[in-house]
C-alpha cells in the first residue's frame, strides 16, 4: 500500500509538469480525460496503477491497376481509440503471465470523431471504453491473483515505469492534389499494361498508396506524445503460369515517406519491365529439387532471414512466456553468431544511405523513446528488444513496445542493422561460395536473390523452425557455367544450427522494408543487411499454386 502511495505522488507531480493546454486539441482532450479517470480509478479496489490512451488518425489514398485497367482509386479516413488499463501494481498486475496459460488480451478499439469539433463524442467514447478496459483488467487481475499455483523461479515485475516525456511533431501538411491523384491513376494503369504480353501472365498489378497517420499517446506516467507516421509505396506484383501449371509470383516495392520522394516514372517503369521479363524467364525455368549445401543470400534475402530466425527470438517479452522456445534466454554474454557479425536495432534512423527505413519511429507505442540497441556485438549476445514488460535481468524498456491498432503492445523489431567487421567484396563472396561447394563435392550452390517474406515458429509445441520464401533463385555452378534461374524452392531450417553455418558477409548492403505480423499485429519494420554466405542451407519444395491454364486466349490476343 505504501508503495502505491509513493507512486501516486510521483505521478501527480509529473502531471504538474505538463502544461494545462498543449498545442493540440485532441491531445488535450485525451490527457484531461485520462487524468480525470485515473484519479478515480486509482482509488478503487482493485486499483488502477497505470493507464494509457492511444489514438490514431489515419488517412489513406490508394489506386491500383491490373493488366492496364484501373482497379480502384479510393480514399479513406478513420480515427481509432485504444485504452490500456492496468490494475494491481507493477509487481503483479492483470497482464501477469500464469504458467501454462495463454494470456488473453481483449482489445477495445473504437472509432472516434473525424472532425476537430467532436470533443463530446470523443469524451463519451473514451469514457465508455475506459470502463470496459477497467472491468476486463479487474477480472483478469482477480484471475491471476487466484491462479498463481506455480511460482516463478525468480519473480520479475509485470511492468516497468518509464520517464515522463513531451514530444510533439507538427502536422504533416502534404496532401495529394486531385491533379496528382489523376496522374497516379493514369500511371499505374499504364505501368500495369506492361504485363499484357503473354496469356500465361496470371496477374500484373501496380499500385500506389499514401498513408498518413497521426499517433497520439498519453499516460498516467506523464508521457504526452504526438507523432506522424507517413508511408508512400508503389508496389508491383505479377504472377505467371509455367507449362506444368505452377504459378510463380514476383514483386517489388518502392517505399518512401512522401510521394515526392519516390523515384521517377522511368525508374518505376523500368522495374515493372524487369519483373515482366523475369516472370517470362521463370515460366520456363528449371524446377529445383530439395538441396543441402552452401548458398549466398542477397542483402534483401539475408534481411528476411535474420528477421525471421534471429529477430523474433530476441524480442524480450516473448522470453517471459513459458510457452515460448526461449532460444536465447540464457545466452547473454555467449557467442551466438560469427565473431565478425554484429546486429543493432535503431528506430530513430529515418533514412540510411539511400534507403527509406520502414521501421522508423521516435517513441514506441508505450510512450518510450526508441533506443539504439546493440543486440549482438562481435558475435556475442548483449541485449534484447524490450517493451515495458520486464524480463529477468532486463528491467526497463528500450523503446520497442509496439502494436498495430487492433492489439496490445509487445516487444517487437524496428530497423535492424546487420553488419560485418570483415566483409568480402561481391566477387570474393562468390568465389568463397564456389570454394565451399567444391569442398562439399557439389556441382553448384544457390544464390537467393529475391524473397517475398518468411515466417517462423518460436513456441515449444511445434518445431522451432523458420521458412524464408524466395521467388528468384539461381544456381551458381562451380565449373563456370552461366548462372541458372530455377523455381519452386523455399529456404528452411532451425535457428541455432543455421547460425553456426554463417561464414561471411558481403560489402553491398540493401534494405528489406515490410510489415511484420506477430502477437501485437502488423508493425512496419526494416532490415539493412549485406549479402551473407551460409555454408549449409536446406531447401524444400515450395507449396505451389497450380493452374490448369485458361482454355481460350485472353480477349486482347484474339
Amino acid at each position: 500500500m505504501k508503495q502505491t502511495s509513493v507512486l501516486l505522488m510521483m505521478i501527480f507531480s509529473l502531471w504538474g509538469l505538463f502544461a494545462e493546454s498543449s498545442q493540440d486539441k485532441t491531445l488535450d482532450v485525451l490527457t484531461k480525460e485520462l487524468k480525470r479517470e485515473y484519479e478515480i480509478l486509482s482509488q478503487q479496489s482493485p486499483a488502477v496503477h497505470y493507464m494509457d490512451y492511444r489514438l490514431e488518425k489515419k488517412k489513406a489514398w490508394r489506386c491500383s491497376a491490373g493488366m492496364g485497367c484501373l482497379i480502384d482509386a479510393n480514399s479513406n479516413a478513420n480515427n481509432f481509440f485504444f485504452a490500456n488499463v492496468r490494475v494491481g501494481d507493477k509487481t503483479l498486475d492483470n497482464t501477469h503471465l500464469v504458467k501454462g496459460k495463454r494470456n488473453r488480451v481483449t482489445t477495445f478499439l473504437i472509432k472516434t470523431p473525424l472532425e476537430e469539433d467532436g470533443e463530446k463524442a470523443l469524451l463519451q467514447a473514451i469514457w465508455n471504453r475506459t470502463e470496459q478496459a477497467y472491468n476486463d483488467a479487474s477480472r483478469a487481475y482477480s484471475y491471476h491473483q487466484n491462479n498463481i499455483k506455480v511460482e516463478d523461479e525468480k519473480p520479475v515485475d509485470d511492468f516497468a515505469s518509464a520517464p515522463a516525456a513531451d514530444y510533439y511533431e507538427e502536422v504533416e501538411d502534404y496532401e495529394l492534389s486531385d491533379k496528382e491523384k489523376a496522374a497516379w491513376q493514369a500511371f499505374v494503369t499504364k505501368a500495369s499494361a506492361l504485363f499484357r504480353v503473354d496469356d500465361k501472365m496470371m496477374k500484373g498489378e501496380v499500385s500506389f498508396s499514401y498513408d498518413k497517420a497521426r499517433k497520439y499517446f498519453t499516460s498516467s506516467e506523464g508521457q504526452h506524445i504526438v507523432q506522424n507516421y507517413l508511408h508512400t509505396r508503389v508496389f508491383i506484383a505479377g504472377s505467371v503460369m509455367a507449362d506444368n501449371g505452377n504459378v510463380m509470383n514476383l514483386h517489388h516495392a518502392f517505399d518512401t515517406y512522401l510521394p515526392t520522394e519516390l523515384p521517377s516514372e522511368e525508374v518505376i517503369l523500368l522495374e515493372v519491365q524487369k519483373i515482366v521479363d523475369k516472370l517470362l524467364e521463370l515460366k520456363t525455368a528449371a524446377i529445383a529439387q530439395p538441396y543441402t549445401g552452401p548458398a549466398i543470400l542477397s542483402p534483401a534475402a539475408a534481411g528476411v532471414f535474420f528477421h525471421e530466425i534471429f529477430g523474433h527470438r530476441i524480442e524480450g517479452q516473448r522470453l517471459k512466456d513459458e510457452n515460448d522456445g526461449q532460444t536465447f534466454k540464457t545466452k547473454v554474454g555467449e557467442s551466438v553468431l560469427p565473431k565478425t557479425f554484429s546486429v543493432d536495432f535503431d528506430p530513430q534512423i529515418k533514412k540510411y544511405k539511400d534507403f527509406y527505413l520502414n521501421g522508423h519511429y521516435v517513441y514506441d507505442d508505450e510512450g518510450v523513446k526508441g533506443e539504439h540497441v546493440s543486440v549482438v556485438k562481435d558475435g556475442v549476445l548483449q541485449n534484447f528488444l524490450m517493451s515495458r514488460t520486464p524480463i529477468d535481468g532486463f528491467a526497463v524498456s528500450n523503446g520497442h513496445g509496439r502494436a498495430d491498432f487492433y492489439h496490445g503492445t509487445v516487444a517487437r523489431q524496428s530497423n535492424m542493422f546487420i553488419s560485418s567487421s570483415k566483409p568480402l567484396s561481391d566477387v570474393k563472396l562468390r568465389k568463397a561460395l564456389i570454394k565451399e561447394c567444391k569442398k562439399q563435392g557439389l556441382e553448384y550452390g544457390y544464390y537467393f536473390k529475391r524473397v517475398t517474406g518468411g515466417f517462423t515458429t518460436t513456441g515449444r509445441f511445434l518445431p522451432n523452425a523458420f521458412n524464408v520464401t524466395p521467388n528468384e533463385v539461381y544456381r551458381i555452378y562451380v565449373d563456370g557455367r552461366a548462372d541458372e534461374l530455377v523455381r519452386g524452392v523455399d529456404l528452411i531450417g532451425t535457428p541455432l544450427s543455421m547460425f553456426s553455418t554463417i561464414a561471411a558477409a558481403g560489402t553491398t548492403e540493401s534494405v528489406f522494408n515490410g510489415t511484420c505480423g506477430a502477437e501485437s499485429g502488423g508493425v512496419p519494420v526494416a532490415t539493412i543487411s549485406p549479402a551473407i554466405l551460409v555454408r549449409t542451407i536446406e531447401t524444400q519444395k515450395k507449396n505451389q499454386k497450380f493452374s490448369t491454364g485458361a482454355i481460350l486466349p485472353a480477349p486482347a490476343h484474339e
Binding site: 480525460e33 480525470r36 479517470e37 478515480i40 480509478l41 478503487q44 489506386c63 491490373g66 493488366m67 492496364g68 485497367c69 484501373l70 482497379i71 480502384d72 482509386a73 479510393n74 479513406n76 479516413a77 478513420n78 472509432k111 472516434t112 470523431p113 473525424l114 472532425e115 469539433d117 467532436g118 463530446k120 463524442a121 469524451l123 463519451q124 467514447a125 473514451i126 469514457w127 465508455n128 475506459t130 470502463e131 470496459q132 472491468n135 491513376q185 496470371m202 496477374k203 498489378e205 504472377s239 503460369m241 499454386k545 493452374s547 490448369t548 491454364g549 485458361a550 482454355i551 481460350l552 485472353a554 480477349p555 486482347a556 484474339e558
Partner: protein, 587 residues
C-alpha cells in the same frame, strides 16, 4: 454454377452500351469455342456486371465518425453443362468438391471494355471446368447407383421466355456533404440527453445497376437504390445494465425518409421509451394466454416467420446429394413444396404477392420488382396462400416438383458493402375476409384472458414513431379496467405454428418497407451472439439492420392469438455501478 466476384467501379449511362457489348462479345466466343478435354460443352451461360456505389455516414453528438464511399463492380458468371433437365446444378457433391482458379479476376474502377471481358473470360473458364467435371461426376454416380432422370421429379433448370428489360440507372439525389450535415444534425438531438451513454446515427446509401445477358437472348438493366437509416441509443439501467434500442428507416429515395423534424421527434420518443422501460417492472415467470399484436409488430413479431426459404413463402428446392456415408440421394428436409393445396396458415388468411405495386396508401413501395436478377419478369399478382392453403411459393429458375417455372423472385440482396441475389420477397400482402375493428380485438383479448382466469392479458406493439422498425414494447392489459402497463424483460419469439391458429385479425391494413434478411442466417448469428460482450452485440445488431432484400409487406394492423407463451428474462445478475461519472454530465 454461379459465381460472383467483387471489384470496383462506377458507371454512367453512356457506358451501358459498352458494358453490354463487352458481355455479349465474351458470351459468343465462350459459347462457341469453350471445350475442355472430353467434357461436354456448356448449354447455358449468363453474365452480369453490377455497378454498386455505396456511402456510409456515421454521426455522433453532432460530429462525423465515418464518411466513406465505395465504388464496386461485381462481375458474375453462371454457366451450366448438360441440359435443362439434368445439369451440374442442384447437385450437392460432398465427396468430390471441384473448383478451379486459373486466374485472378482483376476488376476495374471505371467501366472498361477490356476489363469486363478479361474478368468474364477467366470466370467463365473456371466455372466451366468445374461445371463440366461436376456434371460428369453426377452422371457417373447416377448411372452407378441406377438413378434415372425421371426419378428426380423436377428438372434442374427452368426454360424461360427471354426478355429485354431496360430501366435507366438511378441518380444520386443528394451530395455527400448534404447527407453528412443531415446525419450530424440528427445526432445532435442526443446532446442534451446525458443519460444516453452511447448514440449513433448511421445513414447508408447504395445505388446499383445490374446488367445481365445470357445465351437465351436476355438483355436486362436493373437499377436498385436504397437508403437505410439506423439510429441507436443506449442507456444504463438502474441495475447498471446497458439497454440499447434502434430505430430503422428504409426508402428507395431520400424523399421517402421522414422529414428531419419527424425523425428528431422519434429520437426523443426513443430516449423516453428507454427511460420508461428502465422504470417499468421486470416481467417474471411465464405467461400463457391470449396475445394481441398491433401495428408493425404484426409483421416483425408474427408474419416475418413466414419469410423463410423452404418452410415459408420461398422455395428451397431439394438437391441431389452425394454423401460420404449415405451415398447418393435427393435431400429429404421438410419444405412447403410437399404442402401444396394443404393448410399452412390459418384459414382466415390469404397471402398474395403484388411485385408491380408502386404506391400503397400514398407511400412508395420499396419491394417493387418488375424483373429479377435471372432476367425473368415478375407477374403482376401471385396467389401464394388462399384461405390458409398453400397455392405456390416465390421462386427462381431452380424448379421444384410442383413449381417448374420461375415467378421471378431471384432479387437483389444487400449485405455491408457487397451485393448478391437470393430467392426472397418483393411485395407481399396479407388479407383476411374475417376481420374485426381494433376496438373489438381489444374486447376479444380481454374476454379470452378472463375465460382463462387471468387478471391480465398481453399486448405487443411498437413504439409510435415514423420509423419502419421501432422497438417493440410489451404491455400487460388489465382485464377489468383495460389499462395498459409497460413491462420490461419479456421474450416472445414468433412461430409459424401460431399463425395456423389466429383468433382474429383487424380490418385496417398498413404497409411496412423493410430489408428482409435470410432468416436462417440471422438465426445462426443470433445464437453465436449470445456469448459476445454487449458492445459487440450492439455492432452486430446494427449491421444486421443493413442486410437483406428491399421488400414491402401489407397486412392487418392487429392480430389476436388465443394462446401463446411469453417468458420473463429472470435475470437476477446485477452489474457493478460505474464509478467514473460521464464526462458529458459534468460539462
Amino acid at each position: 454454377m454461379l459465381l460472383l466476384s467483387m471489384g470496383v467501379t462506377a458507371a454512367d449511362d453512356g457506358n451501358d452500351a459498352m458494358i453490354f457489348k463487352a458481355m455479349n462479345d465474351e458470351l459468343s466466343r465462350n459459347m462457341s469455342d469453350l471445350k475442355y478435354k472430353d467434357f461436354e460443352t456448356p448449354f447455358y451461360i449468363a453474365y452480369a456486371v453490377h455497378h454498386l456505389h455505396n456511402n456510409s455516414i456515421q454521426a455522433c453528438l453532432g460530429t462525423l465518425i465515418e464518411s466513406s464511399s465505395n465504388n464496386n463492380v461485381y462481375c458474375g458468371s453462371r454457366l451450366m453443362v448438360g441440359s435443362y433437365q439434368l445439369n451440374d446444378e442442384k447437385f450437392n457433391d460432398k465427396v468430390n468438391r471441384v473448383w478451379y482458379n486459373d486466374g485472378a479476376f482483376t476488376n476495374f474502377e471505371a467501366p472498361d471494355y477490356y476489363g469486363i471481358r478479361r474478368n468474364l473470360w477467366l470466370q467463365t473458364n473456371n466455372v466451366y471446368k468445374a461445371a463440366a467435371e461436376k456434371y460428369k461426376n453426377k452422371q457417373d454416380l447416377m448411372k452407378k447407383e441406377g438413378l434415372s432422370i425421371d426419378e428426380l421429379k423436377s428438372p434442374d433448370f427452368s426454360k424461360e421466355e427471354p426478355v429485354e428489360y431496360i430501366e435507366a440507372a438511378l441518380e444520386n439525389e443528394k451530395p455527400k456533404e448534404f447527407l453528412e450535415a443531415w446525419a450530424k444534425e440528427l445526432s445532435l438531438v442526443f446532446e442534451k440527453h446525458t443519460e444516453v451513454i452511447e448514440s449513433d446515427v448511421v445513414l447508408k446509401y447504395a445505388n446499383q445497376t445490374s446488367y445481365i445477358v445470357d445465351t437465351e437472348g436476355r438483355k436486362v438493366q436493373l437499377p436498385t437504390r436504397l437508403y437505410s437509416l439506423t439510429i441507436k441509443a443506449k442507456i444504463l439501467s438502474d441495475k447498471n445494465k446497458p439497454m440499447t434500442q434502434f430505430l430503422r428507416y428504409y426508402g428507395d429515395s431520400f424523399a421517402d425518409l421522414p422529414a428531419k423534424v419527424n425523425i428528431k421527434e422519434d429520437i426523443i420518443a426513443l430516449i423516453a421509451n428507454l427511460d420508461a422501460l428502465n422504470k417499468a417492472p421486470e416481467y417474471r415467470g411465464k405467461y400463457t394466454g391470449p396475445l394481441l399484436i398491433q401495428d408493425e409488430a404484426v409483421f416483425y413479431k408474427s408474419f416475418i416467420s413466414l419469410v423463410r426459404r423452404g418452410s415459408g413463402l420461398m422455395t428451397n428446392p431439394r438437391a441431389l446429394v452425394n454423401d460420404k456415408n449415405k451415398g447418393l440421394g435427393v435431400a429429404t428436409y421438410f419444405t412447403w413444396e410437399d404442402m401444396k393445396g394443404k393448410r399452412v396458415v390459418d384459414k382466415k388468411l390469404s397471402i398474395t404477392a403484388y411485385p408491380h405495386l408502386e404506391i400503397y396508401d400514398g407511400e412508395s413501395v420499396l419491394g417493387r420488382a418488375m424483373c429479377d436478377m435471372e432476367g425473368v419478369k415478375t407477374p403482376e399478382k401471385i396467389a401464394l396462400v388462399e384461405q390458409g392453403k398453400l397455392i405456390t411459393q416465390l421462386n427462381n429458375r431452380t424448379p421444384t416438383p410442383s413449381q417448374q417455372k420461375s415467378n421471378g423472385h431471384c432479387l437483389p440482396y444487400f449485405k455491408g458493402n457487397s451485393f448478391s441475389q437470393q430467392v426472397i420477397t418483393s411485395v407481399v400482402q396479407f388479407d383476411t375476409e374475417e376481420s374485426l375493428s381494433n376496438d373489438s380485438l381489444m374486447i376479444e383479448l380481454k374476454a379470452l384472458a378472463e375465460e382463462e382466469g387471468l387478471d391480465h392479458a398481453m399486448l405487443i406493439k411498437p413504439l409510435a414513431t415514423h420509423a419502419d422498425e421501432a422497438p417493440m414494447n410489451t404491455y400487460q392489459v388489465n382485464v377489468n379496467s383495460g389499462e395498459l402497463s409497460l413491462v420490461a424483460g419479456t421474450s416472445y419469439s414468433p412461430k409459424v405454428s401460431e399463425i395456423k391458429k389466429i383468433e382474429a385479425l383487424s380490418e385496417h391494413s398498413i404497409m411496412t418497407n423493410t430489408l428482409v434478411a435470410n432468416q436462417a442466417s440471422l438465426d445462426n448469428r443470433r445464437k453465436q451472439m449470445a456469448r459476445y460482450p454487449d458492445w459487440l452485440k450492439d455492432i452486430i445488431r446494427m449491421q444486421m439492420g443493413d442486410e437483406g432484400a428491399p421488400s414491402s409487406f401489407i397486412y392487418p394492423d392487429g392480430l389476436l392469438l388465443k394462446s401463446t407463451t411469453i417468458t420473463g428474462t429472470n435475470d437476477s445478475f446485477r452489474s457493478k455501478p460505474r464509478v467514473v461519472p460521464s464526462p458529458l454530465a459534468q460539462k
